[in-house]
Symmetry: C2
Subunit: 365 residues, 2 copies
Amino acid sequence: MISKDHQNVIISAEQLRRFTTEVFGYFGVPHDDAALAADVLAYSDEHGIDSHGVARLKTYYDLLKAGRINPKPVLTIVREKGSVATVDGDNGLGLVVGPKCMEIAMRKANAHGSGWVSVCNTNHYGAAGYYPVMALQEDLIGISMTNTTKGVAPFNGAEKMLGTNPVAIAFPGLHEPPVIIDFASSAVSYGKVEIAKRKGEKIPEGWCIDKDGKSTTEPAEMIEGGALLPLGSTDTGSGHKGYCLASMVDILSAVLSGANWGPFAAPFAIHVAPSGKQVGKGIGHFFGAMDIEGFRDKLDFKKDIDEWIHTMRATKPMPGTEGVLIPGDPERHAYQLRMKSGIPVNKEVVASLRVIAEETGIPFE
Amino acid sequence: MISKDHQNVIISAEQLRRFTTEVFGYFGVPHDDAALAADVLAYSDEHGIDSHGVARLKTYYDLLKAGRINPKPVLTIVREKGSVATVDGDNGLGLVVGPKCMEIAMRKANAHGSGWVSVCNTNHYGAAGYYPVMALQEDLIGISMTNTTKGVAPFNGAEKMLGTNPVAIAFPGLHEPPVIIDFASSAVSYGKVEIAKRKGEKIPEGWCIDKDGKSTTEPAEMIEGGALLPLGSTDTGSGHKGYCLASMVDILSAVLSGANWGPFAAPFAIHVAPSGKQVGKGIGHFFGAMDIEGFRDKLDFKKDIDEWIHTMRATKPMPGTEGVLIPGDPERHAYQLRMKSGIPVNKEVVASLRVIAEETGIPFE
């Protein structure tokens, strides 16, 4: 079904999950792992995070096909001490390694009050928000971070040195839905620059620099050798703070685990060769879970989260805006719509899925 | 000694520490606690964080004099489970409660791999960066956060609902100095707005809104009923991300510990009455410490931090800037200058210290 805007095709959540699971299975990913990886991608598509769902399936497919990702990783706990551990992901799909390491953090939280797992030798893990949402199922506070391939200039720098390095954390409410925070430490995502280019539009000041480190409003000038700016963008906007945040994520995910950090993180793309210099294994993630009961009565905490939500929602709105949302609201809104009406998938993405269907013989419809 | 810019008086670090310690002692703060509180303030003055050192002493003094802070708190561990705990700060100085709770987190990190302490019933704790620097002395990764009195509008809001809620984290290097991250989740500090007002200057777009929630470049319009904006500032700059960060800090510090969160956090000022509604006790902090050895060989980690630092420093500089700094560089630079030449203290701050000297009989010189 073609949606009204003619850019998207409406596909059911079930169809995408079935297809995605079979694609991972095609490369020998064990069934449970394939379903898990499909679930991580589906989380994005079903919650309106279009950049991190099936839009990326072709890249996972290409990397599996090229043998650059191990379909049957054996995870190893490299080191461990009470509430903390480092796991080697055996170059598996981040979509499989990630949930398994989040599970380890959750087990540790149940045993030790909190659990923290740094992961090396892994790959792109989908949307950061998936992992704290796992923790919510056990009423734990969950945290996740990952470093990613370079795309962002450090504050006052003129070249890509850090990834968009997201941070996600979630807190359960009682009658209210949870607070789910998930954001990249760059001013904007690369996807927004790509969309502007496709539409032939300029981009605002503060998003990007060109190959010489000069501010640019031309998407092409960023794409051809430029870089994204960190959250805060400029000296005036406190761009050093976004750089600090990206650095924190890079060090916790990759330096602490022994993965490739900073500009050495592997590209998530088949046509981009990995950095000649390797300073560790794969990319890195960092997961955390905390047992609320270790701090406070869980029911009291959840009641207070409900009141926190009511209080923030009641903020006087800024004129001309929809007013204050709670982190997680946009994704919940998208979920309600999409589970009823299906998922709008960009036509180009659908074309990439049809290529996979053709090459593998897995039916797409 | 009056410095060249005629705005500041140069005072030795020793003189400030001695005076500050005696002022806290005057109210019956035990000597060790008074020296500890003085050390936290001195950290700011000696490292160029002028807004958080003796510039705040008059406010601590006023609050102690008014009986709004307990000079002899008895800290209680309210709840505990392995690596996590909640501490009630007994309405003590944050400058005393903070370091003691960071110590608890550090002891837990040594025992359980990590330690996480949420604190209620406490007050303003100085510069967030002091606490991770404590952890560095034992080669631990240290983290600190605090909520603060309301000053910042949530994204798309038209009134103050959250504090400037800072985050700090530090990582030890081997031959290089540590990476020390410390930043507020607002676009800028209130101090920057005050300075612009004093100088009769306008402020940039993206810093503040006025009492109606409209963007303003007039400092007075923010000060009289307006609000600071979160990091990212606007829709274009991803201001929702700064709001997410401030929310995370607010919930971990105050909802998790049972302190006053959001707009109910106590004001750090004598002439501002606390919110009529109390949703918890005092304000809240959140401290963390992690044992690097629980994740990875410490020496390997530190070597990699050195290489991370070298790599970031080598980034091609943005034209017209000094190039990429490492988080902590500006404070280290200030420290080197100030320990040699003394600390430049604003004349108005010196006048406030002289008022304390006069009222208490404690010699300032």
